[in-house]
């Protein structure tokens, strides 16, 4: 019965893509482009090779939408577009201006600064393992998938601040891109280049931004190298996972895994993790998730991001308010501010204080905070940031 359900799902996806194709055809039929298509790309072979995403064996399968299958040519095109400043108003800014490999695909700024020098309100997000972000993209989850997300920065006034019409014109007239679009998507004429195809290619590239699986953490947890962590890192690991009782050691619970857990430390769910002290839910400077759900109890909630490579992506939080991981630990050690929708785990970090009613928690000692930071550093994955397949192809 279950197998049957899976099949149905696949049929659904296939049918959706068939419908999508029909729609694309329909659009082409009424394309107002004055340039008469001449089939100028038809002599270039269209033989896309399917691309197998390299992922660690202990990572879950990646959910690639049937409407955008991975191909070698698509990934190559996407990589170029991602690094190409041609996508911005004055050709000075590319996606990679705010998502650099060295910062685990962030810009290491508190808030990102757009092409016009205007600061945004939010901190750039790491794109490591973004293929697994299946619960909405951005800090508030307002974009449903990578294909949709990639359309947004180009026209965003505090990011690349141009129009897709301009960018698509530049792509059509380019000496190299039309061939690449042909090879990736089988278009027969440069007039068929669209922003949607550009976004699909960038999404394909982003789906290969996957951990190497060789961080100290991965080797310790998944590859049987059980002596790899030193005492401090191990203490941090135990506190992160609330595992002291199990291990028979005397350490408090830091509650982290409840929100940053799973196999890949990407929570993807939305919480108020106690950053702001507000007297009412209406007082959050940035309402976060509320933008999407319009539900008052979601005000001030943000998506729990991946903690992989977190030591490389300072500063921290949606507004970059904390410069170091130590500051982040000082924050969690305060046990929140008591806002009505604050997640209960935030108030339970440390040891329960005997006799307190309601139960209060001690927070963390300096040693414990440092041990947590040391543990977070075991999530560092230099092999990922140095992976030659994801670097700037123009350098």
């Amino acid at each position: 019965m279950m197998k049957y359900l899976y099949n149905t799902q696949r049929i659904w996806v296939t049918a959706a893509s068939v419908m999508a194709i029909c729609l694309i055809n329909a659009c082409n039929g009424s394309d107002p482009d004055p340039v008469v298509p001449t089939g100028d790309l038809l002599n270039i072979p269209y033989t896309p090779q399917s691309y197998t995403i390299v992922k660690p064996a202990h990572f879950p399968e990646i959910d690639v939408p049937a409407s955008n299958p991975m191909t070698v040519e698509g990934v190559q095109l996407g990589r170029r577009l991602f690094y190409d400043p041609m996508l911005s108003a004055d050709s000075t800014m590319s996606c990679s201006s705010c998502h650099l490999p060295a910062g685990s695909f962030t810009d290491n700024k508190a808030v990102s600064i757009g092409v016009d020098g205007i600061s945004g309100q939010r901190s750039s997000m790491s794109l490591l393992n973004v293929a697994y972000a299946n619960n909405g993209l951005f800090w508030d989850g307002r974009s449903p998938n990578l294909e949709d997300q990639a359309l947004r920065p180009v026209e965003d006034p505090i990011e690349m601040h141009t129009t897709w019409t301009n960018v698509v014109e530049k792509l059509k007239r380019h000496k190299d891109y039309p061939t690449r679009f042909r090879k990736a998507f089988g278009i027969s004429d440069r007039s068929e280049i669209t922003k949607e195809l550009a976004a699909k290619a960038m999404a394909q590239f982003e789906r290969i931004l996957i951990s190497s699986g060789n961080s100290k953490y991965d080797r310790f947890v998944f590859k049987g190298e059980t002596n790899l962590l030193d005492d401090e890192e191990l203490d941090g690991f135990i506190m992160f996972n609330d595992d002291a009782l199990n291990q028979g050691v005397n350490l408090p619970d830091a509650q982290c895994f409840h929100c940053h857990g799973g196999l890949i430390n990407t929570g993807n769910k939305y919480f108020n993790n106690g950053l702001d002290s507000v007297s009412s839910l209406d007082d959050f400077k940035d309402v976060g998730r509320f933008i999407v759900t319009n539900n008052a109890s979601d005000k001030g909630k943000f998506r729990a991001p991946t903690l992989r490579n977190i030591a490389m992506s300072a500063p921290y939080m949606h507004d970059g308010r904390f410069k170091t991981l130590k500051e982040v630990m000082d924050h969690y050690s305060r046990n929140g501010t008591g806002a009505a929708n604050e997640d209960p785990f935030i108030r339970q970090i440390g040891y329960p204080i005997q006799g307190s009613n309601p139960i209060k928690y001690t927070g963390l000692t300096e040693y414990q905070k440092n041990a947590l930071v040391k543990f977070l550093e075991t999530l560092n994955d230099p092999e990922f940031v140095n992976n030659p397949d994801i670097q700037n192809p123009f350098q």
Partner: protein
């Protein structure tokens, strides 16, 4: 969602025609869709997040903010005969995309269920041990068990249920008593059967399954579970006992109707 259901329905039609062709050789029992609706309630009415519910002997206010549950092997019974509807389901009554605090109704359509009158239904509460020995990397994205958010690496277990609430146990307008019951581990997996005539035919109404959170916290002697003494399952050395208590009561807390 409705579009998807419509589509599932269309697929059903396609499959039926396919089955008709194949049916030349062996006569087949006619099959149809069975719809099931899962609901989360408190004392009979739909649970609403952050709403005050009376709790304990002195009726102090309690507010829920999360309720999720895995079910395994949802199976229709006809005497000793069993018809499995699905191996696993993940019920998130308080999903991130809800536009209000009202817990959501979760509708399922099981296709190709042999028509007839069944005598009851059996469900596993949690993730059955054979699946719980695996983890999200062992399941395809379409499976409920692909959900990495609900996997606890430390326990090597899915989190069978998450129930989170805050109470004002000393009635001073401060909701500072927390109930965080996250239960998991093969030891607390439970199976319950319910006797209830269930019609599977095309005109039959949906099968309704309600989980009454209040009944989850009423102990054998009629008193409420003491959430002040046992506020959590994770940082308490009795955590297994608490998790077991909660999981054991799901049978009582479940009601089935059609």
């Amino acid at each position: 969602m409705p579009l998807r259901i419509l589509f599932a329905f269309l697929c059903g039609i396609v499959c039926f025609s396919a089955c008709d062709d194949a049916a030349v050789v062996t006569p087949v029992v006619p099959t149809t869709d069975l719809k099931m609706t899962f609901k989360s309630t408190y004392d009979g009415s739909r649970m609403i997040k952050f709403k005050n519910y009376p709790y304990g002997s002195n009726n102090y206010p309690l507010q829920f903010n999360r309720f999720t549950l895995f079910l395994s092997d949802i199976t229709l019974l006809k005497g000793t005969e069993e018809t499995r509807l699905t191996e696993s389901a993940y019920l998130d009554f308080t999903p991130d995309n809800a536009s209000s605090d009202t817990s959501v109704l979760l509708n399922y359509t099981f296709q190709n269920v042999p028509e007839g009158t069944y005598t009851g239904i059996k469900m596993g509460y949690g993730v059955k041990p054979s699946d719980n020995g695996k983890n999200p990397a062992d399941f395809p994205p379409s499976s409920p068990l692909y959900n990495d958010n609900e996997y606890w690496l430390g326990w090597k277990s899915y989190i069978f249920t998450k129930i989170e609430a805050q109470g004002d146990a000393d009635i001073n307008n401060q909701f500072d008593h927390f109930m965080i019951y996250h239960c998991g581990g093969n030891g607390v997996y439970k199976t319950f059967s319910f006797t209830q005539p269930i019609e599977v035919k095309s005109s039959a109404p949906a099968l309704k399954v309600d989980f009454d959170l209040r009944k989850l916290f009423i102990m054998a002697d009629g008193r409420y579970y003491n959430m002040v003494e046992d506020p959590a399952t994770s940082n308490n050395k009795d955590s297994l006992r608490v998790a077991n208590d909660i999981m054991s009561k799901f049978g009582n807390a479940t009601s089935i109707a059609q």
